[in-house]
């Protein structure tokens, strides 16, 4: 399973953090620090995999953002790269050419989209169509529900 997923900028600013196992706050900060220094310190064209403690770290840079996740030792690194890619595709589809700012200003959406895709650190659904449909549906639900519920009480 995946233990965590972090999105951070080249400057090491954390943009999204998802923890799939309970981690104390202090430990989270330490992990984030370790990950940012480790990953940002990598030379270009290095491989995308690292070992850290007993976890496999898989990361990939998309434009100015680094996507970085920690996996159990028996997980498949290449597929984890594609998990990251699929998440980027989903963000891209939702925001239309996603950029760092989209994620900053709509962080809750980025979390919701991630929740549709991964659950408990495992891939829940891999079909982009199914995923986009349910993301759209929940968005639609959101708008319609507001309208649906907005009639004053009688």
């Amino acid at each position: 399973m995946m233990h965590f997923l972090l999105l951070f900028s080249r400057q090491g600013k954390l943009r999204l953090q998802k923890w799939f196992t309970p981690v104390p706050e202090r430990e989270k900060k330490k992990i984030v620090r370790d990950m940012t220094t480790m990953v940002l310190g990598r030379k270009p064209r290095s491989c995308n995999f690292l070992h850290w403690k007993d976890l496999k770290i898989v990361y990939k840079k998309y434009a100015s953002l680094y996507f970085c996740c920690g996996l159990d030792a028996e997980e498949n690194e290449l597929l984890a790269l594609e998990v990251l890619h699929r998440y980027v595709e989903l963000l891209d589809k939702y925001f239309g050419n996603v950029c760092e700012l989209d994620i900053i200003f709509n962080f809750e959406k980025a979390y919701f989209i991630l929740d549709e895709f991964l659950l408990g650190g495992e891939v829940q659904e891999t079909s982009k169509q199914v995923l986009s449909r349910s993301i759209e549906a929940s968005d639609m639900l959101q708008e319609t529900m507001e309208e649906y519920m907005s009639k004053p009480a009688f």
Binding site: S46, H85, F107, F112, S134, E146, F154
Partner: protein, 911 residues
């Protein structure tokens, strides 16, 4: 949420950390006052503030309030508020146990809402928080949802992974039960998303109790075989960059790694075929140049190789796997080189492929020297370690030692441990071993842990043939002007034991040995000094000629009055011992150390503790053993699995199929208490309104005549049986009944006490308001009787109920948003506001009653289609009772305004 966006921009515009903190504190004060204020916050504001708090928390600041408001949002009617509430909870509430019971309550409501969106939110929350209290509350419920026949696919997926999570955090709370057999059959599900999620769950559970999930092997092989042999377009959207269902394939291959090779020959053959196909595909030209294609394809390939290695039983496959990895070792993609090195590590431990792996030694050594990326070099070290045996140990150890001089600091300790282990394991002559360890200390003394130098001393003491050489070598090594403290330790110990073996040489006479050691004394830490003091007393025994010199050293203030108690004690005791004990006693006390008992190398234990990846096969084997032990003790699971599944699916069809006869088979007979009004005097009797929701009953009754009805409707057609009952004892004459102008031929006489039956066929041509009228004429005792009643044929009779998910419902609700399409009515309740009665009425009305769509559980939502000859009209309805005011609000949305109006009028009369 504009306020949130403004706040985020403010934060981004802050020039300094201080400014940011100031802005945040201002916002926190604002939110706190809003939460504490007298005015109750509306849901939107609550959501906005909770979202701001979340943002602040994610920036790295502590949040110590707002949890309660977030919990309140969970029970909100509005989807967005609920969603934000859940997000806050899953990010911030890990251990805040005083809120858990409230949260659990909200989750419980959403789980039982039957609304898939809400159920998913709740399941996600359980998985995200995963606390023990939650596991206790839902460990029984989640499996039930997972295997229930009518659970939506998306909910099944969430439930499967949620259960997996609970099983990891609190395995004792997730007992195996009758659901386990059904879970295995999810591998056969139509929906690949469900299969993917289920496979993850089964893999975890199978590790825990393999025997219970043994049947999954054949299912997994079958599924895998279908995927592997499918054309890339077969699986539609589950094909990822021309690779068929890579995620599912990998998970199935991982599941199979929980078991030994299948015993059944057919299954085993099919699996081998799959693995061969995957290996073959690796040789095919890529279908796309995109890295996603090659990643997904190779992900499956690597997982297949893992399975081949795990089974470790098919030599041909193992060698093919090794050749494939050999190709990757030289691939231009760094990632593939890295993974090939990693994967080969496990391959090296198989007796079938060990030799094949060894042929790649030059490539691996080259990788160690030339890879630019440290993590790749580290994998090369691992692989060299794994492929090392007696034949190549010297070469590998030499390469690793020379790499050590320039190795990255982060991996030096691990390399040192590995070199030390290999040198010991494959040492033919122990002089090589001693040299190697001393080189280790020389090149990377800081990284040589205590275990390593303990071990070299143990070995030297246990092996006579190497003692002289060891003494000579450490003596030479100590000559270096700057040598590592670890070398001083080894040197002190070995010379103290075996210095006599080289004392014959004048260049290493006792005094020279002592002076050499003592020259390092002042540079060393306390433990090393203590060790040296022991070496000195041993020297007194070995070389009586230096006794005086050493006693003098021991007697000096810096020793006898040393601030460190240990050093002081040793100096005092050793000095006294050397003064009073006779030579014999000294010789006995300070005799050469006895051999150490042979046991597992402490270095190996240390390496295991470090969990060097991919090179600890002993661990793997232990796991396998444990598994089979588990498998042996757990009783075989009961096998009525297929029956259970069969039962489940019949339930499903019953639930999903629309009831054929509407309103006739309701459990609650809601109309039985209504009193039939006597309508004799009315020229045109309207039908009792209960017929709107009911198809059978007495339509009309007076002293003479009773008209009974039985009717059935299907789409735009209906058939009505009209029964005319003569209540008197005399005959009705000239009996005629007609609908509209159309005359219905009937038997002109109805005998006393007899009943006449007529059948009317009805077709709904278009939507209508007025009901057809039934005119009845007859003679009774000479008087002409004239009766006209409206037939209870109303528009809603042509309703076809439509079950739909809440997503679909709201999608259609939105589509029917034009003002004229909606009709709403607020009215006073005429009957008692009983939920069951209301439900029965809505179903009798003809609409499907949709459970769990409306966020407010006390509201009713229905959907259906009105069939006419020419068109079909989709209808949605919503009824909101207000028990306090004894009022209802009814809203209808249909694609045709007249239909909305008519249905609203009809239904509103019913409550």
């Amino acid at each position: 949420m504009r306020g949130l966006a403004v706040f985020i921009s403010d934060i981004r515009n802050c020039k300094s950390k201080e400014a940011e903190i100031k802005r945040i504190n201002k916002e926190l004060a604002n939110i706190r006052s809003k939460f504490k204020g007298d005015k109750a916050l509306d849901g939107y504001s609550k959501k906005k503030y909770v979202c701001k708090l979340l943002f602040i928390f994610l920036l790295g600041h502590d949040i110590d309030f707002g949890h309660m408001e977030a919990v309140n949002l969970l029970s909100s009617n509005k989807y967005t508020e609920k969603q934000i509430g859940y997000l806050f909870i899953s990010v911030l509430v890990n251990s805040n146990s005083d809120l858990i019971s409230l949260i659990n309550n909200a989750i419980k409501n959403d789980l039982s809402s039957r609304n898939p969106t809400f159920m998913n939110l709740a399941l996600h929350c359980i998985a995200n928080v995963g606390s023990r209290e939650m596991a206790e509350a839902f460990a029984a419920e989640v499996p039930r949802i997972l295997v229930a026949g009518d659970t939506m696919d998306s909910v099944k997926q969430s439930a499967a992974l949620c259960l997996l999570r609970l099983n990891t955090t609190s395995p004792d709370l997730v007992p195996m039960g009758e659901w386990t057999a059904r879970v295995v059959h999810l591998l056969n599900d139509q929906h690949l998303g469900v299969v993917t999620a289920a496979t993850s769950l089964i893999t975890t559970l199978a590790q825990k109790s393999p025997e219970d999930f043994k049947t999954s092997v054949s299912l997994a092989v079958a599924r895998l075989s279908r995927i592997v042999s499918s054309a890339s377009t077969d699986l539609q959207d589950y094909t990822y960059y021309f690779v068929a269902a890579p995620w599912l394939s990998v998970k199935l291959l991982r599941l199979l790694q929980c078991y030994p090779p299948p015993e059944d020959g057919a299954i085993r053959g099919r699996l081998t075929e799959c693995l061969e196909t995957i290996l073959n595909k690796a040789q095919e030209p890529p279908k796309s140049k995109k890295v996603q294609h090659s990643n997904a394809k190779n992900a499956v390939l690597f997982e297949a190789i893992s399975l081949i290695i795990h089974h470790d039983s098919e030599p041909t496959l193992l060698v093919r796997a090794c050749n494939q990895l050999g190709q990757f070792l030289q691939h231009r993609e760094t990632n593939l080189r890295y993974l090939a090195l990693e994967s080969m590590c496990t391959l090296a431990s198989s007796e079938f492929s060990h030799e094949a792996v060894k042929t790649h030694i030059e490539t691996v050594i080259n990788a160690l020297k030339s890879e630019r990326d440290v993590s790749v070099r580290q994998r090369a070290v691992d692989l060299l370690y794994a492929m090392c045996d007696r034949s190549n140990a010297k070469q590998i150890v030499a390469e690793m030692l020379s790499y050590l001089e320039t190795a990255d600091y982060s991996i030096r300790e691990e390399i040192v441990l590995k070199v030390a282990i290999l040198a010991e394991k494959y040492a033919v002559d122990y002089t090589w071993y001693v040299d190697t360890i001393l080189n280790l200390i020389r090149f990377a003394g800081d990284y040589v842990s205590d275990e390593v130098w303990y071990r070299v001393i143990q070995i030297v003491i246990n092996r006579d043939e190497v003692q002289g050489y060891a003494a000579k070598t450490v003596f030479e090594a100590l000559q270096a002007p700057a040598c590592h403290e670890n070398l001083v330790k080894v040197g002190g110990y070995i010379l103290g034991e075996f210095g006599n073996l080289i004392a014959g040489d004048s260049r290493s006479s006792p005094l020279i040995q002592f002076d050499l050691l003592h020259s390092k004394f002042h540079l060393c830490s306390v433990p090393t000094r203590a060790l040296l003091l022991s070496a000195y007393i041993k020297f007194i025994n070995l070389f009586p000629e230096v006794k005086g010199t050493i006693q003098e050293v021991l007697r000096s203030d810096s020793q006898l009055r040393n601030a460190d108690v240990e050093l002081q004690q040793r100096a005092v005791e050793y000095l006294r011992l050397s003064c009073i004990a006779s030579t014999d006693i000294l010789a006995t006390v300070l005799e050469e150390m006895p051999p150490f008992p042979e046991r597992e190398s402490s270095i190996l234990a240390k390496l295991k503790k470090k969990k060097g990846p991919g090179n600890l096969h002993p661990d793997l084997d232990e796991n396998r053993k444990e598994r089979s032990v588990n498998g042996g003790t757990v009783a075989a699971s009961p096998t009525p699995s297929t029956d259970l599944l069969g039962l489940g699916s019949t339930i499903a069809t019953q639930n999903s199929a629309p009831p054929v006869s509407k309103g006739t088979s309701l459990l609650v007979d809601v109309f039985s208490e209504n009193i039939i009004p006597d309508m004799r005097c009315l020229p045109l009797a309207p039908f009792p309104s209960r017929f709107v929701c009911k198809n059978n009953g007495v339509l009309y009754e007076n002293q003479l005549l009773q008209i009974g009805l039985k009717s059935e409707f299907r789409q735009n057609l209906g058939r009505m049986y009209v029964f005319f009952g003569n209540k008197t004892s005399t005959q009705f004459m000239n009996f005629a009944a007609s609908v509209f102008i159309l005359c219905i031929p009937a038997d002109p006489t109805v005998d006393g006490g007899a009943q006449l039956q007529q059948i009317l066929n009805i077709e709904c041509v278009s939507d209508f308001v007025d009901a057809p009228v039934l005119n009845i004429q007859f003679r009774y005792g000479g008087t002409l009787q004239n009766i006209a009643v409206k037939l209870p044929i109303t528009l809603n009779k042509f309703f076809q109920p439509t079950e739909m998910t809440s997503q679909d419902f709201f999608q259609r609700w939105k589509q029917l948003g034009a003002p004229q399409q909606e009709v709403q009515k607020i009215f006073k309740a005429k009957n008692s506001m009983d939920t069951e009665v209301t439900k029965a009425k809505i179903m009798g009305f003809g609409a499907a009653l949709l459970d769990g769509v409306d966020p407010n559980p006390s509201n009713f939502v229905g959907a259906g289609v009105i069939h006419t000859k020419t068109t079909q009209v989709g209808c949605l309805l919503r009824l909101e009772p207000n028990t306090q005011a004894q009022m209802y609000r009814l809203t209808l949305r249909t694609s045709r305004d007249t239909v909305s109006q008519r249905l609203c009028d009809l239904l509103s009369e019913q409550f």
